[in-house]
Symmetry: C2
Subunit: 747 residues, 2 copies
């Protein structure tokens, strides 16, 4: 009996015997009777909890004063009816909590009255009139948002459950909750029965209301999915993702098993991990309270709580998530989802004192045991700084589908993506990277082409430029072969492949390396990219060495873009700027780039310096004199001004099969418009060159302006830590053990 | 005997009689014997003073430890030799002060040794090898920077004067200070003998060293200029400004009389006012100490101290100066010049408690009586918030050459420029405006095309795009006729003209108006622009109503650009975007604009909404159905990427003589990428139209989305406050007194 089957029988046992004797008292989901008593006893003594309570009370009181708003659904996100029903469920949940904590009936009355209005309206509603979704809801244009509604209102219902009359409960369950749950599950198997953040919300919505209503059949559906769905295998959702795959996992456990890696990395990327964290963790908490025998927080080595820490490591210095895949920039650990997540992770995960400092920054807590617990921790002065780490987060349910590496040193952060596709929210950008300094983007990942919930911009939904631009390879800091995207930009292919880690070594914090290979993005071509983050006294700050080795069976054109953010200060090559701007290419994202300038190297190194956020940056590249150097700017074929007009420098190498692109990226110096001092405005790299490149080894020399030369040798084939190597370069022998050598050049 | 002649004789009297009996003790410039004693007595008791002292001590100690650096001058600003000699004079001044306050000889030794090195090097120096300046220095590429050097080192010399031997003093004065002073004055009359911030620095440099050396002849030259200069009247400086004009005022008093208006507005604009403030005020302080009989701070109604408050009013919510004319964005009241200015204004100007809050933000004080005084004020808790006002700052030495109006309400700030040319740093942008909200630009003034002191960018000097773009009219939010700049972009014409105030009324803070006319920018055409900043309950925030009335003798093409900053959200008109981008025009700045889109109104109103800094903005314009609506972007013909790629919407009206452009600019709502809520994302203006436009009156209706309609009538000819008016519009009579009517539309 394998683990999963065993698990199933355990649960069956639980159902058969425990449900009968289980306490039927409410609240039982997020709040518990004992929890509420503990909270009431502490009121007025825990500052952050009191402040959070007072803020929510003010918000809810103000909202209740405006009456009940129950418009007939008609809008996309950002529109009035959408935002109104969204507000309703957020306020309902809070009002329920206030009733429990403050014991003031006005909040129960409000929850009841609003829910009763929904019970009147819901049975009369057709499917939502907006037709864009593959799974249209009733209150909202997507079942996804309907599920959000149920996750929150379940909590409100739980809070007033005992206070309501039996008759009221019956009405609500019969006219509202049960048909609502059926509609988003049985009525929309293509939404409910998959592995996707959408389904997670759907599963949890059912699970939450099932726990409140003590409906085991519904709970079973939530946990294990619909038994019958009649879905065909070629169905796709709006984002182009497959609905059903072979051996499809389903239900809450399916969604917990599949997209989370053992490292707690969620395959869609941090923006969606954040979005999914709320249902995962709130339902985790509910199951912990109502079904403690499931030991949900210990499931899969405690992946739920581990994932919170992983997610925090996927933020920049300002707490904003790295915008991998379809991530909207600016989303951060200040979001309501992360407040819940951090509080739960602290309370149920061993009270890690580093989480207290995040909660302090968030400056609010959730109003339940977890929030109380973290607020007490802060009050007692136990907070420690959250130390973000250099991490290599493996992707895939068993950790074998590539990953995301984050190298950190001082204020520099390098994010290297060699992961799996990331489901329907994935971008075609194998071996791409981005660089941050102190929370500011240095080399950017574009993120998504969408203005979430801003109705004027395509109803707040994905814009077509998300497909034609943001997902395309050329929109990222990685290699494009022959102006086509990785996997031809096809989800069918991309979703079956992932890059492979070559090695990851951070044993020396002054010399952190990560190396990975991609063989499937372009059949017949292997890309092998190695990044080193190096602290060297000849340089002001840690610099990045980027070695991208290409081996192909055919001659190709290779484009390697660098999306630097800021204003060009200086280049060391000649280029021409056109009188009129034309598109860089016809398709695969190239149609969105204007060609602003074109040049060629005039020395062995190509250098570009720029200024951003009062800091100077330089990129130095080992040049091939036939390279074309293209200044590009995003914004062509963008009739609605949906894209940002950001620049890039693209290195183009033509008619070549095997080659190595080597670059050094430096942050150096600063400029103050107040003192008008420009400090260390120039690059410290005097020369950069590839001194050896074979199947087995690639060796690169970096000479500093101070005259010292360092050598990095990468072992391209054997990445074993124990392997001994010997190599002669320019009549000097180098001996070392492991996948790389780094040291002074011998002369 | 007029005032100036009287003043001259007073000074002569002072020279003849007082010099003989004057105390020869040093320091006497910025520090005084008594001042130093007072400071020493307070050490350790005034936190901000102590902190400032400690910071400067750390800085100077660190610098002294690196030894003396005396490179042979060769670089432009931003380059090593320039920045090194600049650092030298800043450290020398500080070191001198530390010697006085801490009584530690190490600082005197350092000052002496560095000055002696200069005394060795200076006589050997040729004119600076960089040839770009109209007045090349010796240590620096401009006499301007040489003057900076002398202003600072005079203070250092003063501090160690008594400590030096007579022989040492003799050597320094003979080999360094006297020839240095002669070179920047007699050697460069084209630099020294004019009204310009350059000359102010030159005059003050001579004045400061003259006071230290007790050299009355030199002081006389500083105060009244060179008697003979042999300059011709057609000479120009590098910025295209005239060197000499008829009835040229010269010397320090000339520079004090001429560019400052009675309101304390400095005609070049706040960026240069800030630059000039340091020499003005430091020399003011020196004269106050060394020549108290001059009563310098009472001169011209106390204009020197008044100008500090004026300058503070010329900053946005972040303390940054509005970038009128050649202003570099980001310069602010945190600059060292403003620290000095605020401290002096507080100490010598009646201890205005509002200045304490600025000093608190600056978080440092100068190390002299003034700094001690303000630090004590802060320590004693007397600080009050600095209240920035709605102000109308008149330009011109007698306040009759137009002005700058700043309307403020809540977080909105509107800056209206109807001033004189602003000397050689002026832009050709009569009746232009810009808008700020909470320190963020909403409609921007481009500022200058220069990266001050960043050597990579044209030696840190003005770039050619400053002339071809930043100074041109089309680079500003004002009217361009027939694609030519105001005054044909000619300084000769522009410097002889200014706009004229029509009226300024802020009696009601919810309805602030300013109105001005320009008749000379385009001969035969009169522009009359009125701005109202209106707080109305139908709108979330104060909105701006902009009425630009044009009357011309000929048919013309009119372009009115709005340089909105941010991302387009929505427009209500159709437009086409080109496949390739071409220049909007051939010259006068148009060659720097790409045409990104072209459309026409399809209703009576043209509306554009955009998002910036998480806030929504809209501009609604009363449309003429023949209007061309042009989306433009800066960046064409910019081979070195010197310009920012910022957008504009330009309204073009062709083949018309008289017309009115009417616009409403709103800030509304907000977006949070963390909560993903978009609030109040749409404009509240339902309709906007001109209901009457005659020679005498222009009337505009604004209808809100809530259905209320307001009417503004401007009296175009008679702006008297007492004048009674009667006007019939759509069969309703309006009676009022004064230059405008505002109220509910009668129906």
């Amino acid at each position: 009996m394998n683990r999963k089957t065993y698990h199933f029988f355990c649960l069956l046992f639980v159902f058969c015997f425990h449900t009968l004797i289980q306490a039927q008292e409410h609240p039982k989901l997020i709040l518990t009777k004992q929890g509420v008593e503990a909270i009431r006893a502490k009121l007025g003594t825990v500052p952050l909890f009191d402040a959070s309570l007072s803020k929510i009370k003010d918000e809810v009181d103000a909202e209740i004063a405006t009456g009940i708003h129950m418009p007939i659904p008609k809008d996309y996100s950002g529109g009035y009816t959408h935002e109104r029903h969204k507000k309703n469920f957020l306020i309902l949940q809070k009002s329920g909590v206030l009733f429990q904590i403050l014991d003031d009936e006005k909040y129960a009355v409000y929850v009841r009255d609003v829910l009763m209005s929904y019970a009147e309206m819901y049975p009369t509603l057709p499917v939502h009139p907006k037709e864009r979704s593959y799974a249209r809801g009733k209150l909202f244009w997507q079942c996804l948002n309907d599920s959000n509604w149920l996750v929150y209102t379940s909590q409100a219902y739980d809070c007033i459950y005992d206070w309501l009359s039996k008759k009221e409960r019956k009405k609500l369950e019969k006219d509202l909750f049960k048909p609502f749950a059926d509609f988003i599950s049985k009525g929309n198997p293509q939404f409910f029965n998959r592995v996707h953040n959408h389904s997670t919300w759907g599963n949890v919505a059912l699970g939450m209301i099932a726990l409140v209503m003590d409906d085991d059949q519904l709970l079973n559906r939530a946990l294990y999915g619909l038994k019958v769905d009649n879905l065909s295998e070629d169905m796709k959702d709006n984002d182009g993702g497959f609905i059903k795959t072979k051996d499809q996992k389903i239900g809450f456990f399916g969604n917990l098993d599949e997209p989370f890696s053992p490292d707690g990395y969620y395959t869609e990327g941090p923006y969606y991990q954040r979005y999914a964290m709320y249902p995962f963790l709130i339902f985790g908490q509910a199951l912990h309270n109502a079904k403690p025998e499931l030991k949900i927080f210990e499931y899969n080595d405690g992946v739920l709580l581990k994932s919170v820490e992983t997610l925090l490591n996927l933020t920049d210095a300002d707490g904003e998530f790295f915008p991998i895949n379809d991530g909207q920039k600016g989303m951060s650990y200040y979001s309501r989802e992360l407040v819940t997540a951090v509080d739960i992770a602290y309370h149920f995960g061993g009270e890690n004192a580093q989480l207290l400092s995040i909660a302090e920054k968030q400056d609010r807590v959730v109003l339940n045991d977890a929030g109380l617990s973290i607020a007490i921790g802060i009050k007692e002065g136990r907070s420690e700084p959250f130390l973000k780490k250099t991490v290599n987060l493996l992707d895939g349910s068993d950790g074998t589908e590539g990953g995301i590496g984050i190298l950190r040193k001082d204020d520099m952060e390098l994010i290297f993506k060699y992961a799996a596709q990331g489901l329907s929210h994935g971008h075609y950008d194998k071996l791409s990277f981005s660089v941050f300094e102190k929370g500011d983007e240095v080399l950017q990942d574009y993120g998504l082409a969408r203005f979430v919930n801003i109705e004027q911009k395509g109803g707040g939904n994905y814009l077509k430029e998300n497909t034609t631009w943001a997902k395309q390879t050329i929109a990222h800091n990685t290699l494009v072969q022959n102006e086509t995207s990785h996997f031809q930009g096809k989800y069918e292919i991309g979703s079956k492949n992932h890059s492979v880690l070559h090695f990851f070594d951070t044993s020396d914090e002054n010399l952190q390396l990560i190396s990975a290979k991609e063989k499937n993005a372009y059949p017949g071509t292997e890309m092998h990219r190695t990044f080193a983050l190096i602290m060297d006294n000849d340089y002001e700050k840690p610099y990045i060495l980027d070695i991208l080795k290409i081996s192909s069976e055919t001659n190709n054109q290779y484009d390697l873009p660098f999306y630097f953010l800021g204003q060009v200060m200086e280049v060391n090559f000649d280029y021409e700027v056109p009188k009129t701007l034309g598109q860089l290419g016809a398709a695969n994202g190239y149609q969105h780039l204007w060609l602003e300038g074109k040049g060629q190297p005039k020395s062995k190194n190509t250098k570009l310096s720029w200024l951003n956020n009062q800091k100077f940056y330089s990129i130095t590249m080992a040049a091939n004199l036939q390279d074309e150097l293209l200044f590009a700017r995003i914004g062509a074929n963008d009739p609605s001004f949906n894209l940002r007009r950001d620049p890039a420098l693209i290195v183009r190498r033509k008619d070549i099969s095997n080659t190595v692109f080597v670059s050094v990226i430096e942050s150096h110096g600063s400029y103050s418009p107040v003192s008008e001092f420009a400090v260390n405005a120039s690059s410290s790299v005097a020369a950069l060159q590839v001194v050896l490149d074979t199947v087995d080894f690639t060796a690169v020399e970096i000479e500093s302006e101070k005259g010292n030369t360092k050598l990095l040798i990468v072992s391209n084939v054997n990445a074993s830590k124990e392997q001994k190597h010997e190599l002669e370069i320019e009549n000097n022998k180098y001996n070392w053990t492991g996948p790389y050598y780094f040291g002074q050049l011998k002369k």
